[in-house]
Structures are given as structure tokens and as C-alpha cells.
Amino acid sequence: MRKRLTGFIGVILLTLLVSACSGGNNAAPAASNAPAESQQPADNGAPKDGGNLIIGVAADPVILNPNYAGDRVSLTIDQALYAPLFQVNNGKKTFYLADSLTPSADNLTYTLKLKSGLTWHDGEKLTADDVVFTINSILDEKQNSLLRSNLIIGDKPIQAVKVDDLTVEFKLPQVAPAFEATLVQISPIPKHIFENEADIEKSPKNNTPVGSGPFKFKEYKTGEYLTLERFDNYFGGKPHLDSVTYRIAKDTNSANLALQNGEINVKYLDPQDVATFQATNNFEILPYSEGRLAYLLFNANSDRGALAKKEVREALSLALSRDELIQTAYTSGDYAEPAKSFVTPDGLFFTNDVTSYDNDAAKAKELLDKAGVSNLKLRFITTSGNKVQEAVSLYVQQKLKAIGVDVELQSVDASAYSKRFTDKDAKDFELALAGYIMGYDPDAYRILYSSTGNSNYSHYNNPEVDKLFEAGAGEADTAKRGEIYKKAQEIVAEDAPIYPIAYTKTIVAVSKQYGGIEEAVLKPVVIFEDLSKIYLK
């Protein structure tokens, strides 16, 4: 009996230790020549109807309700299930459910017109009532929606008012040009389904979602796959494909083998796997900008104090080379552009023409001497098992040693890392690697760089920048707003609260059997903006 007790404790220990071994994706087999795809018909241009597309995803979707989806997989599937009101690409609006969005002269009211004849997947009419219901359930404190904070402007919620079946007025408590970027993230949920649910998040109705997108829910086998089928009444025209399946493949190596084997048609690739798939000649390899900045964080709040000095941050930045960092992390410049500004290239008013500290060790030493800092010892936290972070941290350690700065690497597991990183009172580390995708409106960066921002993990504090963010949020004149954010980008770049490394790209492999990729528009996080355009050649 006694001996078996160790067995029980073993079970418990195992559950806890597993996370430590996660992410151990070593030992990929040397795939030399994969079998050719069975069919490779001549491309005659015209889209055909029919067929199935299999997209590989790395996890089960958490919840198929746009008011709650925060994980990559749910967002990807929601993009096909729920049509958005409109989307913005490179500053240009594409209208989906909405027909138009017009701000009033005082910029305090936005009038949204819906397209006529819209229906939900179950045939019910989609009207202004659904839009108002969606906004109100996001704002309802009992409903725990992740989007709630986005609808609060300066401590006051926005209001959605139905004018007629196709018209909604949004009333803003103050002028806020970033409101459009907020609406981009919202896809209406059906009022007739969720109206009487006390807790929408826990509602079993989320398991059989009813949306308005190009594909409707068919079946979900937990841990295996989720299939959507064509929605014939899609307002953008009948989709070409009969169905889309999201195949859950948690292990990267075996998912790559399934992609080679034709059991998956679309999947993200890591830079180091690109050559293998290029060699098969069966895939379009599509790197596209993810609107993401990868950066090295300087924690000015640490108990060693050194990073609160601008000269020290500047010196550390000068000791590093952006190009070498990109080589180390992403194997080549094809998958990452050198970054200087905190705004990403897809953002409004983005400029990379700002001060940059790069690759000047002599000047770095000089600055440290001038600041009177010597024998600097820094702690660098990394996520264990994350190969990119490990490689970059070793590089940084070596480069900083050259200017007389000692770096102690602390490898911690993913949940411990995110807890320390996001803890605003953390004083026990100085350096960390991170990345963010903030969307196209620069107001989103306020939480990162204003002194009172929620996610100001570098503890950056510059009253001038605070003022600029405040002014930019309420400035309706586009030209003036542009000036404000350009100035903010320059000041932040000069103050170096972070070391911007690169604007990273996502790489997606799509089987050459499929066409219409350009029309479907590759989009950060969700892969395709409009799946209805994809067709089987």
C-alpha cells in the first residue's frame, strides 16, 4: 500500500511538470523529398466551385463567440463564421456587413448603415437590433467580454442607439478618432440566440455558433477538427469552397508532416522550415507582415535602478546590432524588417525615420563612462523552450559583455514568464524579449508608453509623450493628428524605453491546388480576411 502512495504523488507531480517539458520541439526528421501532390491541374484562371480546404491550427478554439475570442485559433475561425462590420487595410476601408460609416460634424456621433437583406446562418434577419445588442452585451459588466475596455472612452461608455432597422448611431462621450479601429474588432452576435442568456460566456449555444460570415458551423470534434460549410446567402456572394476544416495539430513537427502529406492544406511555417517546403514545389510560401513589433524590453523599475537612466538604455542599444539580431532570430531579413519606431508599418502615421541606436560599441562604452556606471549586472528573463528567445538572449549576453555589462540569463516557464513580465511592480529583472500587435490606430499604443498606461511594462515616463497621446486621442483633424504621433514616435525612439528589433512577418504555406489568395487578403492573426474568395483550382 505504502509504495503505491508514491504513485499518486507521481500523478500530481506529472501534471505540474508537464509544462516544463512543453515546447520541446527538437529533432525534426531530415525530410529530403516529399511525395508529389496527387493532382496538379493546369491553372486556367477561372475560379471553380466545390472542394474542401483544411487549415492547420495549433490548438482547440477556446470560445467561438467574437465577444470573448482572444486566442489566435478562435479569432481565425470566427473570421469565417462571423462577418465584421468593416475592415481596414493600409488605411482603406472594406465594408462587410456595414454599407457606410459616417461621423457627424462634431465627430461625436457615428452613423452606421447596414447592408439590406442581411441574414444570419439560421435564416433570421440581421438588423440594427443585433448590432445594438452586441454593443450592450460587451458593455454589460456581468458578461466579462474582453472587448469592454475598448468601448470605454475617457471613463465613459459609448452608446449605441437604433434609428431604424438598418441604421445605428454610436454616441461618443468625447471626440475619439480611434473609435473606428475599435469597431473593426467587433462582429455582431445574434440577438435572437443570446437574448435570454444570463451568462453568454458559459452558454452552451456557443458550441453551435450562428454567425453571418461566408461559412456556417457544421461540426466540431473536440481535439480533432472543426468543419464549416458554405453559407449560400452570404452577402458577399456564394463562397467557392463547399467547406473549410480547421484541423487541430498541436505538435509542430507532426503538423508539418501532415502538411507535406496533403492532410493539411494551409499552415503557418517557422523560418527554418521554409526551405523544406519550398523544395517540394507544392506550396505557395507567403510571408506577410503581421503588424507586430518584436523588441527588447528595458525595465526601468528594476531594483538595480540602472535602466532608469536614459544614457544606460542608449548605451545598451548601441551595443547591439539590429541586423545581427534579425539573423539570429529569424534566419534572414526576408521574414523581419528592421524596426526603429514603436508603431508598426501598417499603423497610421507610421514613420521609421526616427533616431536609432545601433551597432556602435565604442560610443556605448563612452556613454556608460559618462553616466558613471560600471560593473553593471543585468538579469534577462526568457521563456524556457523558446528557441528564438534563447538564441537572442545568448547574443545579447555576448554583445553586452563587450561593453563590460554582465548579463545573467534566467530561463523560466511560459506562465511564470508572462506573470513576471506583466507584473507592473516587478523589480527583479532588467531585460526581456517580447512582441505586440496593436492594430492600426496609434491610440492603441497609449497603454504601452504613457506613464499611467496599463501595459507600460518598461515603466517609461515622459510627460511630453503623455501629453501627445492625450492630444492625439481627441484630435479629429487627420493632418494635425499625424504630426502629433510622428513627434511621439521620435521622442520615444530617442528615449529608448525599448530596443525595437524587427517588424516580423508571418509565413503561411498554402497548397498550390488553391487559388484566390490575393482576393481573400492575407491578414495578421486570422490568415484570410475573406475565405469566400478561396477556390480549388
Partner: protein, 316 residues
């Protein structure tokens, strides 16, 4: 006998309580915060606090434990912190996949281990033994995920005999299809179990061969094969019962690595996701479930023992 079984069953209650306490507080001691796995960077601090409050995560850990226990005693395993679905439903949904896979892997491993172990034990230190030993050592040393990838590469990509992943062809509902998908993961898992079983049976065989009844059989002119497979095997099967009893926990806990590599929708991969997200209601549910199965398996093994070998009396 009946009294004894009842007493053993009653003992499981404090044991499970102990397991749940240790498990719960170890999760709470681990660095990390379940709320972080689903908040977004642009949520306001007060919204994050409200979500934390609504989930009861702002209360002290021991109070959280008692709330959890109280719900459990009313038959409620709670809701996942990430997808907010009932924990019990999620476990039951995945149970058939795991039990089927683990059950067939264990059965396959035992069926192969018995003859291999007997042969190795009977031919101690001869080439048959050395070959079987060699294979066992490979089995112990080779990481299963690596073996799994190798097998996928060979049988799915190169030979096209078997599918590389999942439990079903998309949209197909047939037992034959599930079996076809199960061949690779089952073989990999069976190999993992096999090696320790073989070592177990081998040493047990060596022990049995020294017994007097074996000498008597030989004295009566029984052939080596007869002695081994008719007489020794019966005795060697006894420890196999214990092995099987101990495997009952695995039967529901699943195999985390193998399930993940083969995208097998079992409890192992559910547990993996839960541990990553610090989703303690799910972790607790799986731990309790597999502990219970382990206890029941052991009890069943003990009872079976007393039937198979009357010399062994069930005592406390």
C-alpha cells in the same frame, strides 16, 4: 471479504481528499496566473480585476479550495477557466478516445511482453535474452515523441499506408477508420509499456525457474516448452495482474506526449492545455479521475489475486 472491500473503498475517500489538497495547493504555488491566459493587453486594470472577481480568483487559496470542494460534493466538477465549459463534460467527451487508445496499447504490450519475457528469462544470458534486452534498452532510452515522428515519416509520408494524425478522416464516422488512425499511436505507446513489462516478466520467470515444481516437472520428463508455457507462465501471470491494476490510472490519464504528437483527442492533450493555462478546475478533475481509477485498479488487482492464488489472503 465483503467487509474488506467496503473498508478499502472507504479508505479511498481520505486518500482522494489528500490527493486533491496536494494537487490544488501545488497548482496555486506554481508561478503564473490563470487570468493572464485570457486577458488582452488593452483591457483596463479594473476590467481585469472584475473578471478575476467574477471567477472567484481574488479570494484566498484555501477559500477557493473549499468552494471547489463544496461544489464537488454536490457533484459539480466546476467550469474550465479558459473555455467556461463544464469540466466533467470535457473529461467524459475525451474519455473514450483515451481509454480506447490506452486500453489497446496496454493489451498489445501485455500480449507481446508475456512470451518475450518468458523467452528472455528462460534463456538467461544467451543471445535471445541479449536481443530482447537490447530492444528493451532501446525502448527505455528512445524518447517516444521521436519514435512517433519517425513512424509517421515512414508509414504516413513515405509508404502512405496510414494517416499521420487525428482519430478520424474528416467527416467519416466508422470504427475501421478510427482503428486505422489508432495503429501508429497504439504501436508507439505499446512499445513504451512493453519494455518495462518485459523486464518485469523476465525477472519473475528467472525466479520461478528456481522453484521446486519446475525441477519436478523436468524430472517427470516434461519438455522445456511445456514447462515454460504451461506451468511457469501461470505463475508469471500473477505479477501481470498487478501491472494491469497499476495501469488503470494511465487508462484515463492518457499519454500526454503521444496524444499531442498524433493529435489524438484524448485526456492527455486536454491536461496539457489545462496545465499551460493554469486551468485548475480541469487539472483537478483529471487528477481526481485518474487517482480514483488507480485506486480501483489496485483494489481489483488485489481481489483478483486472492482468487487466482488462494495462498494469498486479503488482509488489511
Amino acid at each position: 471479504m465483503r467487509q474488506l472491500i467496503v473498508r478499502r473503498l472507504l479508505q479511498t475517500v481520505p486518500l482522494l481528499f489528500f490527493v486533491s489538497v496536494v494537487c490544488f495547493f501545488m497548482i496555486k504555488l506554481a508561478p503564473g496566473d490563470p487570468v493572464l491566459s485570457f486577458v488582452t493587453p488593452n483591457m483596463h486594470a479594473e476590467d481585469i480585476e472584475r473578471v478575476r472577481h467574477n471567477l472567484g480568483l481574488d479570494k484566498p487559496a484555501y477559500i477557493q479550495y473549499f468552494i471547489w470542494l463544496k461544489e464537488l460534493l454536490q457533484g459539480n466538477f466546476g467550469y474550465s477557466l479558459t473555455n467556461h465549459q463544464p469540466v466533467l463534460d470535457q473529461i467524459l467527451e475525451r474519455l473514450p478516445a483515451t481509454a480506447g487508445l490506452m486500453g489497446s496499447a496496454i493489451a498489445l504490450a501485455v500480449l507481446l511482453a508475456i512470451p518475450l519475457g518468458l523467452l528472455a528469462g528462460a534463456n538467461r544470458n544467451r543471445w535471445v535474452d541479449k536481443l530482447i534486452n537490447f530492444i528493451s534498452y532501446i525502448g527505455i532510452s528512445v524518447p517516444l515523441f521521436w519514435l512517433a515522428i519517425l513512424m509517421i515519416y515512414l508509414f504516413a509520408i513515405k509508404l502512405h499506408w496510414l494517416p499521420s494524425m487525428g482519430m478520424r478522416t474528416i467527416g467519416v464516422e466508422s470504427t475501421a477508420d478510427v482503428i486505422k488512425h489508432g495503429v501508429l499511436p497504439c504501436t508507439v505507446l505499446a512499445f513504451g509499456f512493453l519494455t518495462s513489462y518485459v523486464r518485469y516478466i523476465r525477472s519473475s520467470t528467472i525466479g520461478q525457474l528456481k522453484e521446486e515444481y519446475v525441477q519436478i516437472q523436468y524430472a517427470f520428463g516434461a519438455s522445456k516448452t511445456t514447462v515454460l508455457f504451461r506451468h511457469v507462465m501461470k505463475h508469471v501471470l500473477l505479477p501481470v495482474i498487478t501491472l494491469l491494476g497499476m495501469s488503470m490510472g494511465d487508462l484515463v490519464a492518457g499519454a500526454i506526449v503521444t496524444e499531442t504528437v498524433f493529435s489524438w483527442p484524448g485526456i492527455g492533450s486536454l491536461g496539457m492545455t489545462a496545465v499551460r493555462g493554469m486551468d485548475y478546475p480541469v487539472i483537478m478533475g483529471i487528477t481526481l479521475f485518474s487517482s480514483l481509477m488507480l485506486i480501483i485498479g489496485n483494489l481489483a488487482a488485489d481481489i483478483l489475486y486472492s482468487f487466482v492464488d488462494p495462498r494469498i489472503k486479503l488482509t488489511r
